[in-house]
């Protein structure tokens, strides 16, 4: 069977399976289990209404439990065990973590990740805010915004190819085909640089790719927040003689502080998971390793599930504060 046919069949089976499940299970409790008639009609309706939410929830909860909740626990277990030949596991306590902490590559990944965590959310949010503010009142603002938003649709891999061409370098005697080197030479640089092999700076060049992608996201959210600011506060500030910069920094920014924080944390999570860009552009060479790629290396190249899982747990640990904060906010909002 060709994959395309298999795909169509899966859609058909998946969709009809879902619809069938929901329809039949509802019919079952309404018609067979607790029919809303006869001597116990009232009691039956109540019972059916107690069960029904769980019928609606069951498939989603099963998928969530199996594909997201269970792996967290299982990864934690794997990170504390060691595979022994024969398909069994041996409890090793924190050995995997100790072994990982002894690896310079891990600390390189940690250092780089921290740098990513500071630079990318900060720059994306700053650029996003800048674009949102600048385009707010100009006529072609929406057009400009949609062009800056566009990289959101491009895959990390596609973006990597795009930026690899930007960073391309040719020997000094040839014409440069990478625009960065061409500009560098144009402005008086002598030797074309291989940007992606210069430690420290190369990490920044990789971050540029993610900033380029995430700015659009920040811009969209912040632009909506800026529009939501009550006009009166701004008018009052103008009457009091505030200049545009004061209005922006003292009136507007404080009012959208929470939104800025939300954007910041959302991008932070994306940064923690960033894998494709480093994988495609340098594969962690020249001191550009990050945690997600380190983990991939351990899991699928070194086949070391213990250390791989341990590094996955480190990512989880870094995400945890944001997770707690989000859950808290969501609960506060529902009350």
């Amino acid at each position: 069977m060709t994959p395309a046919l298999q795909g169509l069949l899966t859609i058909a089976i998946g969709v009809s399976g879902c619809v069938g499940y929901f329809y039949l299970s509802n019919q079952f409790i309404d018609k067979v289990l607790f029919p809303p008639r006869g001597p116990n009609a009232g009691r039956n309706i109540n019972r059916a209404n107690i069960i029904r939410p769980w019928l609606f929830l069951f498939p989603a909860m099963a998928v969530l439990g199996l594909y997201l909740a269970y792996p967290v626990v299982e990864t934690l277990r794997l990170s504390l065990t060691e595979r022994v030949p024969g398909g069994t596991y041996r409890w090793v306590g924190l050995d995997n973590y100790v072994q990982m902490a002894a690896e310079p590559k891990f600390w390189e990944a940690m250092r780089n990740n921290m740098l990513w965590l500071i630079v990318v959310p900060a720059m994306s949010t700053a650029f996003g805010l800048l674009v949102a503010q600048l385009t707010d009142r100009i006529r072609w603002g929406n057009f400009a915004k949609s062009l800056i938003f566009m990289p959101m649709a491009i895959s990390f891999v596609g973006a990597s190819v795009i930026w690899k061409l930007v960073y391309d370098s040719r020997p000094a005697e040839q014409d440069q085909i990478g625009i960065l080197n061409a500009l560098y030479i144009f402005f008086g640089g002598t030797d074309p640089q291989t940007w992606l092999t210069v430690p420290f700076w190369n990490s920044l060049f990789l971050m540029v790719v993610l900033i380029w992608i995430q700015t659009g996201f920040a811009m969209v959210i912040l632009s909506a927040a800026l529009r939501g600011i009550p006009e009166e506060t701004i008018e009052a500030a103008i009457l009091d003689g505030a200049n545009p910069f004061q209005i922006f920094f003292k009136i507007k920014v404080p009012q959208i502080k929470t939104t800025i924080l939300v954007v910041w944390t959302t991008i932070t999570i994306t940064v923690l998971k960033v894998f494709d860009i480093v994988f495609a552009m340098t594969n962690g060479q020249w001191e550009t390793q990050v945690l997600a790629n380190y983990m991939y290396d351990k899991l699928f190249r070194a086949n070391d599930w213990g250390v791989g899982s341990a590094s996955a747990m480190v990512i989880m640990l870094l995400v945890a504060p944001i997770l707690v904060w989000n859950v808290r906010n969501a609960r506060k909002e529902m009350e």
């Binding site: 969530l64 594909y67 299982e74 649709a153 440069q176 085909i177 700015t215 894998f275 990512i315």
Partner: protein, 382 residues
Amino acid sequence: MSDIAGTRPALRWVVHASVIFLVVLWVVPTLGLLISSFRTADQIATSGWWRSLFPSEQNLTLRSAAPETQVLENGIYVIEGQLFGDDQQATISKWGISSRDVGAFKPDQTAELRRGGTITVTADGDYRMENTEEFTGNRGPRIFVTAELPPEFTFDNYQKVLLDQSSTDSMGKAFFNTLTVTIPATIIPILVAAFAAYALAWMDFPGRALLIAAVVGLLVVPLQLALIPLLKFHLSIGIGKGYLGVWLAHTGFGMPLAIYLLRNYMAGLPRDLIENARVDGATEFQIFTKLILPLSFPALASFAIFQFLWTWNDLLVAKVFLIDATGQTTVMTNRIVELLGTRGGNWEILATAAFVSIFVPLVVFFAMQKYLVRGLLAGSVK
């Protein structure tokens, strides 16, 4: 009044200029790759893509027509022709007949050929060779020209990358594989999530708040944690690596966002509507399918776009759950990473392959931007 920039012309000018600057900064990298995908390997390697928009001066080695095309005019053997072919609009600034001195002659000058006879080349590439004796040999002499060539673009790269089945650079198969991954992985989670979202939004049961909190929590769990446990699970129940596995994985990973987006939207629907339907005796199932689902279309569309973009652009999930050693099920993102490794310098292949994979999401993006923005605004935890 609130148009602060408008009150000061200078500031307004600065605003426009900076927006233009930022837009250019954001578009130029993509533009570079797009333009490169329409250039030949030679063009890409010898000059920056930004030069391709303007006429460029190039050194070319061409050849005149073979002696067998010569005609006899008034006792003189003549070969006439056009160096660039018929549709070229090049302008020759200098030319030569020896590789040691490629710029020896100006247009309209006449050179003595080494094997006898003369040649005259005009600025637009017409040439005329004359000889009192017959031209011999089976190829015409080489002619070196320095010419100003107009911008030239080609579809050959796309032809090669998309249609050429024999080529190892072919993306055709990977394109269909990506499509096969994407469509079920977009449709199935929507359906499953919609029912759950309705229950979480409009049904009363103990533990509802806890479940919503759990969904919000799972929203940020890195999928990196799921790789090994799930791969182990798939291998143990016999799914192994393949489409079924990748569909299930994408369904699972997309589920929290789907439930979250749809629940938020459904919870915002007017209460009266649902209460009235209940009073009129509609079952929950009917309310959901006849009322909630059609009304929730914008939220469904938002999530569908997210999930589509994410599954289409994904590399990691496909690498772990789909692509096996045979490489028959490779997806486009993976092909591109492979090309980056093996064909790192072949920009014409890379650029074209990348654009083939970028093109579909871009179309979806520009066509449905409204829903994407709406989804983003609803999806970021307030």
